[in-house]
């Protein structure tokens, strides 16, 4: 298996009430391509913080993150975000004044990755692939259900043709039936589309469906067998 993302000696701390609180301590881990990972851990253990680092939204105090062997600082965080990763949020975070299909096309316009010419059709097909039919694709996103909105968000994360897809409690606001559907989509992304999926979750249902469970505890990541 090929490694896609490697974290080396990551330290992350912040100053709280005069003294330093360290969340991530000398954290090192290697993620392989085409796998569906779930990250578990107690509340406040630093899961979201870790995600923000690997997504290039924040920088660590020390340590390095390599994407396909290249330091993401050298790639440039902005470029890394544009071309290498997608994030699916807990609250779906779609742009409310755009339709579902426009939200998907949004991701296409910001990446440098190669995108097929007929973007609108590609976007419709992506949505349909995840159960959003055409009539719904042309609706404003706030006229869709929570589950549907999360499907749109997933479709958008695929639209920019990136290798890494992160999700922070993507099913936190959904009922269990919908949660299962969404997670099977993630599984499909990893196995059928070859994407590397890293999902932060509290849910056992979700982690049970992943290829690899990882625990974040005391500032370190460890594999759960």
């Amino acid at each position: 298996m090929t490694e896609i993302l490697r974290l080396e000696n990551i330290n992350y701390s912040y100053i709280d009430g005069g003294y330093e609180r360290q969340i991530l301590k000398d954290l090192s881990y290697s993620f392989e391509a085409g796998k569906f990972y779930t990250i578990l851990g107690p509340s406040g253990s630093g899961k979201t913080t870790l995600l923000s680092l690997v997504a290039g939204l924040d920088t660590a105090k020390s340590g390095k993150i390599y994407f396909n062997g290249k330091d993401i600082d050298e790639i440039g965080l902005h470029k890394f975000r544009r071309n290498a990763i997608s994030i699916v949020f807990q609250q779906f975070n779609l742009i409310s004044y755009l339709t579902a299909v426009e939200n998907v096309m949004l991701a296409m316009s910001e990446t440098d990755n190669e995108i097929p010419k007929d973007r609108k059709n590609v976007a419709y097909n992506l949505l349909e692939r995840f159960g959003i039919v055409r009539s719904k694709a042309d609706r404003m996103v706030n006229q869709l259900s929570g589950g549907e909105q999360q499907r749109v968000a997933i479709a958008r994360s695929l639209a920019s043709n990136v290798d890494l897809i992160f999700a922070d409690e993507p099913t936190g606001n959904l009922d269990t039936a919908t949660e299962k559907e969404i997670i099977s989509i993630f599984k499909e992304l990893a196995h059928d589309f070859g994407k590397t999926i890293i999902v932060v979750t509290h849910s056992d249902t979700v982690s049970a469906m992943s290829d690899q469970r990882v625990l974040l505890k005391d500032g370190k990541l460890t594999k759960i067998k």
Binding site: T48, D58, R81, Y97, E102, M105, L106, S109
Partner: protein
């Protein structure tokens, strides 16, 4: 779905917000248009009126300054010395003004009245219905004390026929203005001025009456031989000179029988009897008369120590002394452009010789245009007030909506959009509503501005109590032969008639520029907020 596209989508799909913002810009736009319209109308009314006024600047002695200076002299001898060398206008200074390319010409007009020679070889052009003998001898008397007998002598004063208008420069405002036009021949040259050559320009009617053309000469007397002159040993020949006619002119000031007091016109009141020549020519023509008079007194007071004046050869009228003895009266400079007048005065004011003064003669214009100035000031004030308020309001609205759009910003940033593009989107969104609001306001604002414009001016005039000064009228026939005032009289009506609120394409352009300026400034603070936005927040805010 790039940022421009997103901006349009946001504007068209967030209708209630868009309508509110359009309404805001619409109101701002109306106020700005009214303000700009009124202010521009006031300014251009002033400019248009100014352009209709003759572009003249007067240069002369500042008598207040002279008196104030004299007051500071305590020593009597020194004071006498000061009055003996009374300040004079410097010809060099006038000549230096003429080097300025804004200046067309200068008038240093002297007016003399002369007679036909003793042979009456030159006939004047008749006007009115005065009897011949009435013209020659008016009821006026000229009286003098005989220097020998000390008896008072009087004789009937003889009326002159010809009005001699002279200048120190080879051009005159009258001719530049087209009031007088040369129909044949030419104006006198600088060389003729320098030499005091006996040359002149006469009217076409005078020329026709006497059968004189360019190149011919006419004979004139600088005075009639009054009784008192005979004691100086003056003869009629001393008073007479022949002048070469170098030019013939026409004029646009004919006096018609319906002119007031037409019947009582004297020949010198007829512009047909006006003769133009250099000021130095007058000096030269009067030279024999002046010399004999001087010599007479020099001999009479010669040994009297108190009469140093006649002992000094520099004071004797002569060709050599001409340049130093030429006295220039007030000078009027004619500029090419009436709008340059104020600048010209400002440019030279500081560097004038001690007792000289330049004046734009715009006191009356400034006084009358006060209401327009005030109006324009208020209008501009309103424009700025509205613009500043608009910036504050739009900044606040944008900053507040930014709070509600934090997720959107976070999503855009996590997708990889740059912060500049996010700012660009916000700017375009505002610019779209600004353009829409302002476009609507152009239509309504123009209509309102026209209505309001005249009302506010009337109100301003009424409240500023500007009154029209009583004008001075020459009690004659509409042609004032002694007039050397080249300034144009204006009235409040002149100014008001030029005032018209028009929303010109320029104003409309200005409004859009202002509007975009407002938008640009209004996004500055929100831009800082976006630049400082930490994209990690979008993840943290989830929980």
């Amino acid at each position: 779905m790039n940022f421009i596209n997103r901006a349009f989508k946001n504007v068209s799909r967030r209708m209630s917000k868009t309508v509110l913002l359009i309404l805001t810009f619409f109101l701002i736009g109306n106020l700005v248009i009214i303000g700009l319209g009124v202010s521009k109308a006031s300014e251009s009314a002033k400019i248009l009126t100014r352009q209709k006024m003759r572009a003249v600047v007067t240069y002369g002695l500042d008598y207040n300054k002279i008196w104030q200076y004299a007051d500071t002299i305590e020593d009597e001898d020194e004071l006498e010395e000061f009055y003996n060398n009374y300040p004079r206008i410097k010809l060099e200074e006038v000549t230096s003004f003429l080097q300025d390319e804004r200046v067309k010409t200068a008038n240093t007009v002297n007016i003399n009245m002369w007679y036909a020679d003793s042979q009456n070889s030159l006939d004047f052009v008749h006007l009115g219905n005065r009897a011949e003998e009435d013209i020659d001898s008016s009821s006026g008397q000229s009286c003098w004390y005989d220097d020998v007998t000390n008896e008072q002598m009087c004789e009937t004063y003889k009326n002159p026929y010809f009005l001699i208008k002279s200048n120190m420069f080879p051009d005159m405002i009258e001719f530049e203005d087209g009031e007088y036009q040369i129909v044949s021949g030419r104006f006198y040259t600088q060389q003729e001025i320098d030499n005091g050559s006996l040359v002149c320009l006469i009217s076409e009617n005078l020329a026709a009456l006497n059968g004189v053309g360019v190149g011919d000469s006419i004979s004139l007397a600088v005075n009639y031989l009054a009784g008192y002159m005979q004691q100086f040993g003056l003869t009629e020949e001393d008073l007479e000179n022949r002048f070469e006619v170098i030019g013939i002119f026409s004029h646009s000031q004919p006096i018609t029988p319906d002119a007031p007091n037409f019947d009582y016109c004297y020949p010198y009141e007829n512009p047909d009897n006006m003769i133009f020549m250099p000021s130095t020519t007058i000096y030269m023509a009067q030279l024999p008369m002046q010399q004999k008079q001087f010599d007479y007194y020099a001999e009479m007071y010669g040994d009297d120590e108190n009469n140093e004046y006649y002992l000094d050869p520099a004071n004797r009228p002569s060709e050599e002394n001409m340049a130093s003895q030429m006295n220039i009266n007030d000078v009027t400079l004619l500029l090419n452009d009436p709008l340059d007048v104020d600048d010209f005065v400002r440019d030279y004011q500081g560097s004038l010789s001690q007792f000289a003064a330049l004046s734009a003669n715009n006191e009356e214009f400034n006084r009358l245009s006060k209401p327009l100035d005030t109006l324009s000031m208020y209008a501009n004030f309103i424009v700025w007030l509205v613009v500043i308020n608009a910036i504050v309001i739009i900044t606040l609205v944008t900053a507040l909506t930014l709070k509600t759009r934090e997720y959107e910003i976070g999503v855009l940033l996590s997708i990889g959009a740059s912060k500049l593009k996010v700012i660009g989107q916000f700017f375009i969104e505002l610019a779209i509503v600004a353009v829409l609001g302002f476009t609507l306001s152009v239509v309504s604002g123009s209509l309102i501005a026209k209505r309001i414009g005249n009302t506010v001016l009337e109100y301003q005039i009424a409240s500023s109590e500007v009154s029209q000064e009583e004008e001075y009228y020459y009690n004659g026939h509409g042609f004032d032969p002694w007039n050397t005032d080249y300034t144009t009289d204006i009235s409040l009506e002149d100014l008001v008639s030029e005032y018209e609120v028009r929303i010109s394409p320029l104003i409309i352009g200005e409004i859009y520029v202002l509007g975009l300026g407002i938008v640009l400034i209004s996004v500055i603070i929100p831009s800082f907020m976006i630049m400082r936005y930490n994209p990690k927040k979008i993840l943290m805010n989830q929980n």
